[in-house]
């Protein structure tokens, strides 16, 4: 009888998984391993550690997706997704990174052919271990034909990841309850990499994707939480490399991209415009937003330093369908992606790989971490 009750209980619990997954403040990410992972091949050799951050836009390249560009497309075709994911894997292999921080990676989402992109990249690069934290997971999004969705942040590494944690970021407050229920739940993902311990200090990788479209103070809350998480590692004597898509421009940058991001029939910056600014294209929604990243630059070592962060060669993003004229795509026009460490980057190693502009609407930023001496 007990067995029947147990089986019935398990059946009821499994059959009643949430339709939309919500997360506690702290939870365990999904851990993955490459099919051909080799612990022997990748023993840390005490040399420099290459780190990359890249928002890969769920492997759809410059596809005119309705949600983040002027496009109206929703479901990418399988062949394009596979070709683009293969190109992303090649690009990661070419960068020869030890740690890759990815944003907007899809797992079994309808829009990208139900491919597990984290597993795909692990199986098609020399990276062996992965940790994934979803920011949008639902059985079904009943809007625009999106359907099943699971997308989020991932840390990929040559070396084994342990103590991984998904840290929930505050939800937007400028949405109705219904929209918020089906909306993104952004997060920070943190993992320890024991093989990279530096002089007895624990080594962490931390990845964030902050809000893009909030018009309230959500972005400030996200960056503050990020600073808090990094501060805790630092205070605990740990070493970290961190980065992600902060959806924030550097201090001193242009803050209003509404005109360049505007789509046909959009109406912004006019008397009757409501909202006045385009969501995600304006970077002064609250007091102090343009200087939101100053504490990070003041406290930690940045891969792209203050002297360079507003130079065009370090721009990392432009909306995928943004055009200069009828035939010329805007490849990049702002910097949103960053790398920091509480250790030291190899001087001059910070780089933005703008040649990858066709593979996503963001470009990878990379730098080489210098090992801490004894």
């Amino acid at each position: 009888m007990k067995r029947v009750i147990s089986i019935t209980g398990i059946f009821l619990i499994l059959a009643c998984d949430p339709f939309v997954t919500e997360f506690p403040d702290s939870s365990d990410p999904v851990m993955l391993k490459a099919a051909n992972a080799s612990d022997i091949t990748y023993v840390y050799d005490s040399l420099a550690i290459k780190v990359v951050t890249w928002n890969i836009r769920f492997g759809i390249g410059r596809f005119p997706f309705f949600g983040d560009s002027c496009g109206d497309s929703v479901i990418a075709d399988d062949r394009s997704v596979e070709a683009n994911m293969a190109a992303i894997a090649d690009a990661i292999n070419a960068l020869d990174a030890d740690i890759v921080l990815l944003q907007e990676v899809d797992l079994e989402s309808k829009r990208t052919g139900y491919l597990n992109q984290v597993q795909y990249l692990l199986d098609n690069t020399y990276l062996n271990y992965g940790s994934y934290a979803s920011m949008w997971e639902a059985d079904y999004i009943p809007s625009d034909g999106v359907g099943r969705i699971n997308t989020g942040n991932a840390i990929l590494s040559k070396y084994e990841l342990t103590d991984a944690e998904r840290i929930q970021l505050r939800l937007r407050t400028d949405q109705s309850d219904l929209i918020q229920y089906f909306w993104l739940r952004r997060n920070i993902i943190k993992a320890k990499i024991p093989a990279l311990s530096q002089s007895g200090k624990d080594f962490f990788a931390v990845n964030i994707h902050a809000t893009a479209f909030a018009t309230d103070d959500t972005k400030e809350q996200h960056i503050n939480k990020y600073i808090e998480v990094l501060g805790n590692i630092d205070a605990g004597g740990g070493i970290f490399v961190t980065g992600g898509d902060l959806n924030s421009v550097p201090p001193g940058s242009v803050i209003d991209f509404c005109e360049s991001d505007m789509c046909v029939n959009d109406n912004f910056h006019t008397e009757n415009a409501d909202p006045y600014h385009k969501e995600g294209s304006y970077f002064e929604n609250f007091s102090g937003e343009p200087d939101l990243l100053v504490p990070l630059y003041d406290t930690y070592d940045a891969a792209i330093d203050t002297a360079s962060y507003n130079l065009p060669e370090h721009f990392t993003h432009a909306p995928s369908t943004s055009m200069i004229d009828d035939t010329t795509v805007t490849m990049y026009d702002r910097k949103l992606d960053y790398l920091f460490t509480n250790g030291t980057w190899d001087s001059g190693s910070g780089s933005t790989d703008q040649s990858a502009w066709e593979l996503s609407d963001h470009m990878p930023v990379s730098a080489t971490f210098m090992p801490v001496g004894d």
Binding site: A15, I75, D78, Y114, L115
Partner: protein, 284 residues
Amino acid sequence: MKKIILLCVFNGLLLAETKSWDSHSAYLLPQKRWEVGLFQPFRFGYSETIEYSTFPLWFFVMPNASIKRIESDMAGFNTASRFKLVYPTPLLNMLARAKTGGMIDPNFQMPPMLGLSASWLMSKTIFPFVSPYSLIGLDLTLTGGLDLGITLGDLDPRSNIDLPLVYHRLGIFYNKWGIHTGLDVQKNLTEKIRVLVDLDLRLLPGLADIQINPDLAKLMGDYSLEHKLLLIWNKSDRFRIMTGYKFVKGTYPYGSDMRLLPYIPMMEKWVPIIELQWAGKRAK
């Protein structure tokens, strides 16, 4: 003995009428009797050998009709054949829309699609002991059949709706054909209350082969197992209430999944099925 015979006759008369509620059995509605439910089709006993049914609320966006016909008894079973026809194109094109309510990418135009289904139904009362309508007996129905999905134009596989109950029913249009089989068991708990347990299997053989790139989606969802348990209170021969649950397990393009229904997303909880049904008889 006289009391037992009288009880059996009374019982038989009462439940003979309720037996005609069984839409999934090989039994037909009596001639001129009609039935309709919140979620069940409108059914009409056209003659002693033919019954028609349709989902009236859906009819204008998804024209549908079915006919059930009595066949010769087989191996002690009452036997019937059922033929269904459905034209889901208008409804699917309504669901292919931008913004809230869009279940299908609005870039897809659904072509004319015609679903045909042929079923063979066999029903029998087993373990009757005292009478065919006693409280002890079980009503058993076996079903099996073939589904065909005819599409007049290109149907993009990405236009699927990967939800339980829906995915495998629409799957016949992507796969061109499917098989269904099922088992229904009903039992009287009291004179007014019955319990229904059913198990249905839907197969879409070879569905994985139609995937353009099999490397990306090895599981295309080629089966669905549905189970339902209902408690049915026959208030009279004109009204009844049902409550229970439906359980669905199957494979989908993203893998295997199971779900207890009905499920309310924003409440994140299962709620019982509530179904009301009415019946009547058209004057001859």
